[in-house]
């Protein structure tokens, strides 16, 4: 089969699976951010909705941060998700005066969004200090930190950047002297604190680990942190379409969870390793449907494997279809080539999450924006290697082709591409293997794939779940590597392979 044939096959496979409806109009799309509490509240919303039987439920959990999740609800990619009033007023509306539920509702109305009444607990930021350090230095209040500039702090990236996080707190309390501040993933912060590698971390006041960790919460003695009442953000059109569901959701959740209750729920998921579905069900006063956890994981893995393979196959097939011609173009014109390689190179440096975030207004969340982002990341190795393969062909061989009357398109097809095939395929192979890894990030915008388990595992601090996503991804990378051994055999002309296998041209006598 020709190279073009294989590509067309790959692409049509991808397009077919891609054409399957991602979000039908008769379903409720429940979103969550990628931390335990958000997963739990979203799961409760999902179960209540399912119970009403009014609509099918799609779980789009583990979205990457407020930016992505709020954009998702604003651009009709999800219908409802758990959020906090403080986050809405500071990070979303950027209007600190919009504190009350009524004010936030009014401000969100133009975007056809609303929020529920408070669920009953506050999840504010707080600073936690290792108990032993707090005892030794006599730390009780945040203002005490000012006199101990040598303390080592590690904050989550959200806290570090948000005006209602570290920048504001530092000014409010005059903590500029505290300079040893690092960024850390939320799920790892407690471990870092416990192991003594940092002294101060930011925590959420409902974190399940608070109950069982040797850490002291510092009192917000100058009242900096605003209220972070848990609420649900919902689309107005969802409420209009499924009023019974919305009614049931509010009945089950609004005013029903106080702080200690939320800490307990979080602890069960985070520390006791109970399945989210089970914790949510027991909150609703029901037994979770009797399920075999292992079977469920296997079934989920099967779905995620297909998702992941489709993401990689479609992104790489499209990147090959676009990248090879771009490489050819770059090899044809030196000036154009330099510009092109630069643009493709710069694309590579855009952080994946930022790229995904930019794409939500255009493409929403889910598989499509994930594919576009993966496609862009997959381009560089292919363009680069096609270009290199073409410009390193022996000039004499090209000149001879000209003398033989083999020109233009014919020369490209008969001479140049076969000679460059080793490089081109090496580029596609590199790109595929990289994409298997990058595709795990698709989970942050609900694109599915193995990343779903990794994100959830990180949120629940559950190494087994992380491995359940990471190990198959590694296996898939190995499989892709093996697959290309076969593709090479199929697409690299035998004569080229023979030449490669020898150290140099033979000079054997006839």
């Amino acid at each position: 089969m020709s190279a073009a044939g294989v590509l067309v096959l790959l692409l049509s496979f991808g397009v077919l699976s891609f054409a399957a409806p991602a979000g039908a109009a008769d379903s409720v799309r429940v979103g969550s951010k990628s931390f335990t509490e958000s997963y739990l509240l979203a799961e409760i919303v999902a179960q209540v909705t399912e119970r009403t039987g009014e609509a099918k439920v799609e779980r789009r959990f583990g979205l990457g941060g407020t930016g992505i999740t709020f954009r998702a609800v604003a651009h009709d990619s999800i219908d409802v998700y758990p959020e906090y009033t403080g986050t809405l007023s500071h990070a979303v509306l950027k209007d600190p005066s919009a504190q009350s539920v009524e004010a936030i509702r009014a401000a969100l109305h133009p975007q056809r969004l609303t929020i529920s009444d408070p669920l009953g607990f506050d999840n504010t930021y707080a600073l936690g200090v290792r108990a032993e350090v707090a005892r030794r230095l006599g730390l009780r209040r945040i203002s005490d930190l000012a006199s101990h500039p040598g303390l080592r702090a590690a904050f989550t990236s959200g806290f570090l950047e948000r005006e209602d996080g570290w920048p504001g707190l530092r000014r409010h309390y005059g903590l500029a002297a505290l300079t040893d501040v690092r960024v850390i993933e939320h799920a790892l912060a407690y471990q870092a604190l416990q192991s003594g590698s940092v002294d101060v971390i930011d925590v959420f006041s409902t974190d399940g680990r608070l109950a069982r960790s040797a850490l002291v919460i510092l009192e917000d003695d100058r009242r900096f942190f605003p209220a972070y009442s848990a609420v649900l953000v919902a689309r107005l059109d969802f409420i209009e379409r499924f009023p019974r569901s919305w009614e049931a959701i509010q009945r089950s959740l609004v005013g029903r969870i106080d702080g200690p209750a939320m800490v307990r729920l979080n602890a069960r998921a985070d520390l006791d390793g109970q399945a989210l579905a089970r914790v949510a069900a027991s909150f609703l006063g029901r037994e979770a449907a009797a399920t075999d956890g292992r079977m469920m994981l296997i079934r989920e893995l099967a779905t995620l494997s297909v998702d992941h393979a489709v993401l990689v196959a479609v992104a790489v097939a499209a990147a090959t279809l676009a990248g090879v011609p771009l490489g050819i173009l770059a090899a044809r014109s030196a000036a154009l080539g330099q510009i092109e390689l630069m643009v493709v190179g710069v694309l590579q440096t855009v952080p994946a999450l930022a790229l995904l975030c930019f794409m939500i207004p255009l493409l929403g969340i889910g598989r499509t924006p994930a594919l576009v982002a993966l496609f862009l990341y997959a381009l560089l190795p292919i363009v680069r290697s096609t270009y290199t393969g073409l410009v390193t062909i022996d000039r004499q061989l090209l000149e001879i082709a000209g003398v033989l009357g083999i020109d233009g398109w014919r020369r490209l097809r008969r001479i140049e591409l076969p000679l460059a095939s080793v490089n081109v395929l090496a580029g596609v192979r590199t790109s595929s293997i990289l994409t298997v890894g990058t595709a795990t990030l698709a989970a942050f915008i609900g694109g599915g794939g193995y990343g779903t388990l990794i994100v959830r595992g990180l949120a629940l601090d559950d190494v087994r779940t992380i491995l359940a996503g990471a190990v198959p991804a590694a296996v898939m990378a190995l499989l892709v590597h093996g697959l290309f051994e076969g593709v090479d055999r199929l697409l690299i002309p035998r004569g080229v392979r023979i030449t490669l296998a020898r150290p140099g041209p033979t000079r054997a006598a006839h």
């Binding site: 003398v403 083999i406 076969p418 095939s421 004569g495 023979i498 054997a508």
Partner: protein, 248 residues
């Protein structure tokens, strides 16, 4: 058949060719002799239309050659380079048949032609099915020759065709080439740095140095009446081949 008239070419301050002229009539063999850097390759590239000369012109088979009009050369000129210049991804057969591709010959016609040429150079079918990587140096050079002859061009240009071969294969192929040139009655322009080859093949020799023609004529003329001391020097630099004494 081929005429080069007053061709000059400079690259910046470097003179690659200066006022070079030569002529070869139908059926004649003309040898371009010179050490490396003498301008042989540049002249060849001008003749093949790969380089535009600053002044002068090249006429092949009555048609002026320019980089823009290289198509005219297809079918008129066969080109053989050192080591054959074969494409590693194509079999010997496909390499030899390549010039028939843009011309649009039928498969049968190509097969007939390749069959005839294989016989001419003494190949059996097995050799033609191999890739260049599986051929000996002599075999590769013969495939290169077949490729040059496929469209039966009146003019053959050979650039150091025997340069990379060991002495025994070389002698063997030399004899074969001479036989082929005479049987097919081709006009031949052969580039070499080897006097022995020049004498063996060439009815006329053009000796180049620093882009200029030093002397033109039969070997005996050059040896007996050198235009410059360089001619004698050039001949003397290579051990006087005993079999050439007859020519003196």
């Amino acid at each position: 058949m081929i005429a080069v008239r007053g061709v000059s070419k400079r690259y910046g301050a470097t003179v690659a060719l200066e006022d070079v002229s030569l002529e070869a009539g139908p059926g004649a063999t003309h040898v371009l002799l010179g050490s490396s850097g003498s301008g042989k390759s540049t002249l060849l590239r001008v003749i093949l239309g790969l380089v535009q000369p600053d002044t002068g012109e090249v006429v092949v088979d009555g048609v002026p050659v320019t980089p823009g009009a290289r198509r005219h050369l297809v079918g008129r000129v066969g080109y053989v380079v050192q080591e054959g210049g074969l494409y590693p991804h194509l079999t010997a057969y496909d390499n030899a048949a390549l010039p028939a591709d843009p011309v649009g010959w039928t498969r049968e016609r190509v097969a007939r032609r390749i069959g005839a040429l294989a016989e001419l150079v003494g190949f059996d079918d097995g050799v033609l099915r191999r890739y260049p990587g599986e051929l000996s140096g002599g075999q590769r050079q013969r495939v290169g020759l077949m490729r040059a002859l496929v469209l039966d061009p009146p003019l053959l240009i050979l650039d150091e065709p025997l340069g990379a071969l060991d002495p025994i294969v070389r002698a063997d192929l030399q004899a074969q080439l001479r036989r082929i040139f005479t049987t097919l009655r081709k006009t031949v322009l052969l580039v070499t740095h080897d006097i022995r080859e020049a004498v063996l093949f060439g009815s006329t020799i053009t000796l180049l140095r620093d882009g200029r023609v030093v002397q033109q004529g039969a070997f005996a003329d050059l040896a007996r009446r050198p235009a410059e001391p360089f001619v004698t020097q050039f001949f003397g630099a290579q051990a006087p081949p005993p079999e050439l004494r007859d020519y003196l």
